[in-house]
């Protein structure tokens, strides 16, 4: 038996029963990384030495509860105490935070074993983990294809068995889109459900932390630990966190599911549409009522997102100036030149362009035309969802318009189109393996009203148990 291949819940059970040791689990993951990492390139930093120490400590104390002793990875835009956090940018090369992100701290306290920091698009700006200043990440299902982004490292590592699960982030769809391309489960919880403290901000009004896992049960287990109120995040929600395992059932009788027609238009590949329609049939079989519905303002979501996200990013990214940490141009003679050169050389083109765009959008003359208007249309998009959820318990749609495509054949506009609306509305959304097209996974996106993570998990679990796509794994051994 290959230990790396176990699910989180299975491994947790075995650790608890003393059938395996945390050090053995880590050893298996470590061997797996040795074997496949040079093909996948999911990591920026490996922390196997610290992980070994921690695993040994856990074995010595033998205290395994929840996710204790299980190796996981963290997207490199979540701050980790004493471990470099780079956001895949030259700007933050070598930056060692003096604090843990709240979500990371919670897993650490629960005994989870971090094995490394995962690759991403530079500061989350990009679509295919290609803007990383280190290297791109490859799709485990086909190494010539993209792993998605910004959370390509997280999704690929989970799919390839290099970690049991990963913590990632989602601003416009990052972790859902990457999960879809890599055939794993990715959940973006309700805005405010997981603390953003320690998540390097891009667009503060949309950034969220969420889990990437191999199955729905594991997703529920991670959510149990990372959700909940945090006094360090002013937008943290105080609502009580249920035990999400309680939602893992297969009877969907009476569940009302809508599928928004705007997510099935011609720009979505026919094969993807067919796969998702098949999934909808499956939902009917499972007892749900499935109906077509509309989210009429969906087509405005992409421009609205670009304007708002670039504006917020331009301000959030101002702190990277070479004064207190990060890359600094040592030659500059005065402070303005030092800041400009440090930022000019420390940031990659995607990041620079985004900051400049945001600077323009917020400038006095343009504010009303672009920023203010985008905030108004954001309300229309959110109200579309509000209306839909008066009638439906959840909405089902494709996560992405295509399956993962060969590197170079990219179409940026299409890659986040279907994930952005939920981000703008602040609602929970997840992607689960929903079918296969030419040996590549199709992502099925579930979107629910605020705090309906449980409903999403229930629908996701029922489909997963009925469909078995989650049991398929990419073949990497030659």
């Amino acid at each position: 038996m290959n230990l790396y291949h176990l699910t989180v819940h299975k491994a947790a059970e075995m650790l608890n029963r003393r059938e395996i040791k945390a050090q053995e689990v880590l050893e298996a993951v470590s061997r797996r990384i040795d074997l496949v990492e040079n093909k996948i390139k999911a990591f920026i930093t490996l922390t196997l030495d610290q992980a070994e120490k921690k695993a040994k400590e856990l074995d010595d104390r033998h205290e395994f509860t929840g996710l204790g002793g299980i190796p996981y990875g963290v997207q490199d835009n979540l701050c980790t105490l004493g471990v470099t956090t780079t956001c895949a940018s030259k700007m933050l090369e070598g930056f060692i935070p003096p604090y843990d992100a709240t979500a990371v701290g919670r897993l650490k306290a629960a005994g989870a074993v971090m094995v490394g920091k995962l690759n991403m698009d530079e500061f989350g700006m990009g679509h295919f983990t290609e803007t990383s200043c280190f290297h791109p990440t490859n799709n485990p299902w086909d190494l010539t294809r993209v792993a998605g982004g910004s959370s390509g490292g997280a999704a690929a590592a989970v799919a390839a068995g290099e970690v049991y699960y990963a913590l990632a982030s989602d601003t416009g769809g990052s972790l859902r889109q990457s999960a879809a391309y890599c055939g794993v489960v990715g959940m973006r919880p309700t805005y405010g459900r997981v603390s953003r403290y320690g998540l390097v901000a891009v667009a503060s009004s949309m950034d969220q932390v969420g889990p990437v896992t191999r199955n729905v049960t594991d997703c529920a287990l991670v959510l149990n630990l990372i959700c909940g109120y945090d006094g360090l995040d002013s937008n943290s929600l105080e609502a009580e966190v249920p035990d999400y395992r309680g939602y893992l059932e297969t009877n969907l009788k009476g569940m009302r599911i809508g599928f928004p027609r705007e997510y099935f238009e011609n720009y979505v590949d026919e094969s993807v549409r067919d796969a998702v329609k098949k999934a909808l049939l499956k939902y009917e079989e499972l007892g749900a009522v499935v109906e077509e519905t509309g989210l009429p303002h969906s087509k405005y979501a992409l421009p609205v997102f670009r304007l708002l996200a670039s504006a917020e990013a331009s301000s959030n990214m101002a702190r990277f100036d070479g004064v207190r940490y990060g890359y600094r141009d040592e030659e500059a003679q005065d402070i303005a030149e030092m800041m400009s050169n440090s930022r000019g050389r420390g940031f990659g083109p995607e990041v620079k362009r985004n900051i400049l765009l945001g600077t323009y959008v917020l400038s006095k003359e343009q504010y009303d035309t672009y920023y203010l208007r985008a905030m108004k249309v954001r309300r229309l998009i959110k109200e579309d969802f509000d209306r839909a959820f008066e009638k439906y318990d959840l909405l089902v749609a494709p996560t992405t318009a295509t399956v993962a495509f060969p590197r170079g054949e990219r179409n940026e506009d299409l890659s986040d189109l279907l994930t952005i609306p939920a981000s703008l509305a602040g609602i929970p959304a997840m992607s689960i393996p929903g079918g296969m097209v030419d040996g590549l996974p199709v992502g099925l996106q579930l979107m629910g009203p605020r705090l309906a993570e449980g409903t999403l998990l229930k629908a996701a679990y029922a489909f997963e148990q009925a469909a078995d796509y989650h049991l398929r794994t990419p073949v990497l051994e030659v």
């Binding site: 953003r196 320690g198 002013s234 101002a318 207190r324």
Partner: protein
């Protein structure tokens, strides 16, 4: 010349609040601590940190708004003001743009017996920046050092309407504002330490003209004196330019304390664009009427009310009442002293006279001083009982100020008890008369002044302890003998 023109002045005041912690993180406030020792990921502008609003900042802001007769906003929010500066860790300042916490208020100043209201346009909450330390001159130093201890300190920006018409009024406005803030105990208001800062907007127009002249802004005003001087200078500069038919430039100028001039702060860049937008990290603040009323109930007596009380209850002059209400600490000292010894006028004289003189001499504040209201009251009682003379009292008081000892102890230890024994004084009087026949003759010839000399001699011989009333009486008796 100045009669022909009228100055129009508005002041923007920044006041550092003395909360326990910073505006948006849990770091304590510090003054003079080791650099960068009161900092955290938040106020260092590290990636991933999120601001969380300090409730006390809002409470202080509401309090200040109410004391300045403002309308308190039902809904206010925080905006980001974006600009790059190495002492601004996130390179944006959290501030309030179009929805400040308080607006449309006023405060009252009194100029030559005439009361005048100066409008308060707005009061808003924001955070302070850190400090830059230069080796030598800012112009020539090859590098600067950044200390972020002050970064994130809560500030209120208080903006007046352009209702001020003279440098004198400007400084009266500042004094009144300062005393209100001190009475509220929301700030230390030390201009020299930067906890109270002021920028002035000034323009000049011919009297009777409605339209405002071109305005300049003056920065770097670190004392009431420099505020007045800078305004005087700037108004004169405007008038001279107008008289010459010159063109004023709307610009920001800095006050050069050494040369006593304002200088243009030419920035090489084009006009700033702060790109304000609502901070998505900070949910809005909604202030319902109950909250306002709750805060209103905690408002202490304010300077104007205290002044009224001193004048009506104690019959103090408006001048005395003004001085005693400049600072809450001074007023509290006065009130406590009066509670123990009901001689308000006498106490007022001592507080504004000897006590203020010694405090200024030693560069101290009343709250750090060793003389307590009780010990001052005790000393005044010794005077009333005749144990010490007024002259000796000053000696005793200085000793109290320096040592903190009780007046009774000082009087006893240094043998300062007044001599009221007539026979003992008579002996000295006789000696003095015998030793100064020339002066005695002068007095008898009608030179009243000569008596003063003789009194002085007696006092000197008694080391100041002889009761001056008795000395006077005995001398007159002796000298009137044929």
């Amino acid at each position: 010349m100045t009669e022909k023109y009228e100055a129009v002045i508005g002041l923007e005041v920044h006041v550092e609040l003395k909360t326990n912690t910073k505006a948006f993180c849990g770091c304590g406030l510090s003054f003079g601590a080791l650099p960068n020792s009161h900092v955290c990921p938040g106020c260092l502008g590290m990636p991933g940190a999120i601001p969380v609003l300090n409730r006390e900042l809002v409470e202080f802001a509401i309090k200040t708004g109410l004391a300045l007769n403002c309308k308190i906003a039902e809904f206010c929010r925080f905006d980001r003001k974006n600009y790059f500066y190495p002492d601004l860790p996130a390179n944006y300042q959290i501030s309030q743009l179009d929805l400040p916490i308080a607006s449309a208020g006023y405060l009252e100043i009194e100029s030559e017996g005439v009361k005048k209201k100066i409008g308060i346009n707005r009061v808003h909450m924001e955070e302070d920046a850190g400090k830059l330390v230069h080796q030598g001159s800012i112009m020539t130093t090859p590098y600067s050092l950044v200390d972020l201890n002050r970064a994130g300190t809560p500030l209120l920006e208080i903006v007046s309407e352009p209702d001020i018409r003279s440098p004198r009024e400007a400084s009266m406005y500042m004094e009144k504002l300062r005393s209100i803030l001190l009475f509220l105990r929301v700030s230390d208001c030390k201009m020299e330490e930067g906890s109270l800062r002021c920028d002035a907007n000034v323009s000049v127009r011919p009297r009777g003209q409605e339209r405002l002249g071109t305005r300049t802004e003056i920065k770097n005003l670190n004392s009431f004196r420099s505020l007045e001087r800078a305004l005087e200078y700037e108004i004169k500069r405007h008038i001279e330019l107008l008289e010459e038919g010159g063109e004023l430039v709307q610009e920001t100028r800095t006050w050069d304390e050494d040369r006593q001039v304002t200088l243009s702060m030419r920035s090489k860049e084009e006009a700033q664009d702060y790109r304000y937008f609502p901070d998505p990290n900070l949910p809005p603040v909604i202030i319902d009427p109950e909250w306002v009323e709750r805060v209103r109930k905690t408002l202490p007596e304010l300077p104007d009310q205290a002044r009224e009380r001193l004048m009506s209850e104690y019959n103090l002059s408006s001048y005395d009442a003004n001085l005693l209400t400049m600072s809450k600490d001074v007023l509290d000292f006065f009130d406590a002293c009066v509670a123990e010894y009901n001689e308000p006028k006498l106490i007022a004289n001592w507080v504004m006279g000897e006590l203020t003189r010694l405090l200024n001499q030693n560069n101290m504040e009343i709250k750090d001083c060793r003389v307590t209201p009780s010990s001052l009251a005790a000393m005044l009682k010794l005077m009333e009982q005749g144990t010490i003379s007024g002259k000796i009292a000053k000696v005793v008081f200085e000793e109290m100020f320096n040592t903190g000892d009780a007046p009774e102890k000082i009087v006893k230890d240094r043998g300062l008890v007044q001599i009221s024994d007539e026979s003992a004084i008579k002996a000295i009087v006789d000696e003095v008369i015998a030793a100064n026949p020339k002066v005695v003759e002068d007095f008898k010839a009608g030179k009243e002044k000569a008596l003063g000399f003789l009194v002085g001699q007696v006092m000197k011989a008694s080391k100041g302890k002889a009761n001056p009333e008795i000395v006077n009486r005995l001398l007159r008796e002796e000298l009137s003998r044929p």
